[in-house]
Amino acid sequence: MAVDLQILKRVAYFAGFTPDELGEAARPFFEQSFKRGEIIALEDELADNLYIVASGVVKLFKTSADGKEQIMYLAHVGESISDVPVIDGLPNPASAQAMIPVDLYGINNVDMLALLDKYPKAKQNALKILADRVRHLSALVEDLSFKHVIGRVAAILLKYAGGDGAGSKARLTQQDMAAMAGTAREVVGRSLKMLEADGAISMNRHRIVISNKKALENMIETAV
């Protein structure tokens, strides 16, 4: 199946590319599909490919020695994964797993580095992508270090409410939220019950309905 240029056009690496340049850059990409729950990349292993999410949602996470999971990021359509190991040649800093059925556009690391060499604006875009990652991870460090769990859960609910605007709705389990908040699943369950008792959310079977956005925002501000 051919790579959809409309998706590649949304990829930050290709910002400012002309249609001809985009068509040329798309050549080395191949499509790969993963089932829900399938591992795409393993932490500490070398990365052969950089991937662009063409459909679905990919979870990037680290696992502690005792098996506790910390989610670093959820990558949606148009976002790239395995950038860092492809660029520095070192092992994956995190694992990647398909949260729902996922289609990816992959490019071999040698081809990706050649592409960056060929197009200076792609290299410039790569710097911005890496800078964005640093900003995201700095914010995560702040959340994990300084905010109480209930504030972190409130922040997760607000961040993931309504999907990403592109039709991909990541559905989160309590385990996912625990991994994002850097806490245990049980603590997330308790936090959700507290938020429900406060009237900030209501739990309607598989839906968490945010009934008072302001209350959640206040929770983030005050739970430090």
């Binding site: 729950g37 609910l157 559905r171 389990t173 309590q174 385990q175 598989h206 839906r207 945010i210």
Partner: protein, 68 residues
């Protein structure tokens, strides 16, 4: 069609720990395979997810704003 928890049958070893914990009787063993019966009675208590030693059951939440 009622939204139900998800069972990853590749992970599930049919230990059946989830069956007694399910409050609405939605989990049954059919030919040694854990099977979900669709029911609106499932209140998404997540206890099946919690008890599963292999993390084969997941109860994922959709997060929405009240006005969506």
């Amino acid at each position: 069609m009622a939204e139900m928890p998800y069972i990853d049958l590749d992970k599930c070893d049919s230990c059946a720990l989830c069956i007694p914990v399910c409050r609405c009787g939605a989990l049954v063993l059919v030919n040694n395979v854990i099977t979900l019966i669709e029911t609106e009675k499932c209140g998404w208590c997540c206890e099946c997810e919690e008890i599963c030693p292999l993390s084969a059951i997941t109860c994922a939440f959709e997060i929405v704003f009240a006005d969506e």
